[in-house]
Amino acid sequence: MKKIEEPSVAAIAKDEIAHDHNHDGIDRRGFLKCMAWAGTGALVVMKGGVLNSYALNRLGGMKKHDLKGELSFVQISDSHMGFSKPANPDVAATLKAAVDKINALPVAPEFLLHTGDISHLSKPSEFDTVDQILKSASAKDVFFVPGEHDVLNDEGQQYRERYGKGTQGAGWYSFDKNGVHFVGLVNVMNLKAGGLGSLGAEQLEWMENDVRHLSQSTPIVVFAHIPLWTVYPEWGWGTDDSAQALSYLKKFGSVTVLNGHIHQTMQKVEGNVTFHTAMSTAFPQPKPGQAPSPGPMKVPEDQLRTLLGITDVNQVQGKHALAVIDSTLG
C-alpha cells in the first residue's frame, strides 16, 4: 500500500507559482491540480510541494537499464530487535517482511539506510539478528546511524565496533553516491537532563567543514535517528542544536533530512529542506500528544503491519529534489 500525501488546502486554493524548487518555472502544486483535472493517469508523488511523477505503468515495468544514472535507496528504521511485548511480539518477523518489501520493489535499491534503534537493548544477539535478516535484502550495502537504544551501557562502543568503520567521534560520517552527498549524524549521545537530541560542538564543526566546499547544486541527504526538527518537545522529539547543523546547508538547492525515532511518518518542507521521518519496522507510536506517553502503541493484530513500513527514495536525473515514498508492510 502506497501512501501519497495530499497537497495542503492552501496550496490547492491558489493558482499561482508559489514554489519553483526545480527552477524550471513549473509550480508543483499548480501542476498537481492541473494533472488531477487532465486525468493523465500518472502516479504523482508529492510531499509538501516537492514533486516527482511516474507514469502508472512505469512502476510495474521499470527495468534497471531504463534507470541508469539514477539513484535509488531505501530507508528503514527502528527495528528494535529484542523487543517482545504486546505491541509486537515478533519484531524479527516484521523486519523480514520489510526486507521482502524491499526485494519486491520495481527498482532494486543500491543500498539501505538504517536510521537507528537497530537493537532494543544493545545486546550482541540483537545486532546479530538484524545483520542476519538484512543479509537477504537485495541491497548488500547498509549504512547505519545509532539510536539511543543502540548505545546503552557502553557509550556506544559496541555500536561503533560493529557499524562505525570509517566514522569519527560517536559515529558520524559522510559519503557520496551518484553525485549525492550523504551525511550520517549521531544525535543520541551525551543527552542532558530535560533535553532533546544533541549533536555537540565537535560533530557540528566536522559537519561544517564536511560540506563547506561542495557546490550548491550537490543534492544533500542528512540522516540521523532523532528528528532534526522540533516535532514534539514534550516527548523529546527534536534536537537541541540542529538549527546550527541546518545553517551549514543553506546554500544547497536540495536537502533531504531523513530521521526515525518517532515510529510514524511525518514530513515538513522548509525552503530548500525536506524533512521526513520513517515508520518503524517493529511497533508504532502514538501521534504527538494523543497518548500519555510516546511508548509502543498496541493496535489490533490485523492492523499492525499497516502502521509499519519502509521508505523508498529515488533521485531522477534532471530533477532537483528526491522523491520520497513510504510503503507499509500490510
Binding site: K85, P86, A87, H120, L121, S122, E148, H149, L152, N153, L191, K192, A193, G194, G195, L196, P233, E234, W235, G236, P292, S293, P294, G295, P296
Partner: protein
C-alpha cells in the same frame, strides 16, 4: 499485686523504648532501627513520585513498570543505573542530605528529584 507488677514491667519497657529512640545507634547493632525504604515507580515515561522526600539513610528502589527500558542517572553522576527493562529494579542508598536531580539517559525529558533531609 499482679497489676502492679505489670505496670512496673510496662513502665520499664516504655523507659527502654524511649531511651532507645533517642540514641544514634550505628547500623548493624542488634537493636538498630531498620533502614527506611522507599519506592519510585517508572511508568509511562515518568518517575512517580516525580519528587520524593526521604530521611538520610533511606534506600530508594526504582522499579520499571513501563514496556520500554529506562535508566536512572543523577545529573551530577552521583548514581547511575544500568539499563532497566520491564520489572527490573535499581536501588541507591542516600546517606547524605541534599537535593539530587536525576533523569533517564535514554529519554532525557524524563526527570525526577530526590530530596534527602
Amino acid at each position: 499485686m499482679k497489676i502492679k507488677l505489670y505496670i512496673v514491667v510496662a513502665g520499664i519497657l516504655l523507659a527502654l523504648q524511649i531511651a532507645g529512640h533517642g540514641q544514634n545507634k550505628p547500623a548493624g547493632t542488634p537493636d538498630a532501627k531498620p533502614a527506611a525504604e522507599a519506592t519510585v515507580k517508572i511508568d509511562n515515561f515518568s518517575f512517580t513520585p516525580a519528587t520524593i522526600t526521604v530521611p538520610a539513610g533511606t534506600t530508594i528502589h526504582w522499579t520499571n513498570r513501563d514496556d520500554i527500558p529506562h535508566t536512572v542517572v543523577s545529573d551530577e553522576k552521583t548514581f547511575k543505573s544500568k539499563v532497566l527493562d520491564t520489572d527490573q529494579e535499581f536501588t541507591f542508598t542516600f546517606s547524605k542530605p541534599g537535593t539530587y536531580s536525576y533523569f533517564c539517559s535514554i529519554h532525557p525529558h524524563m526527570t525526577g528529584k530526590v530530596v534527602v533531609q
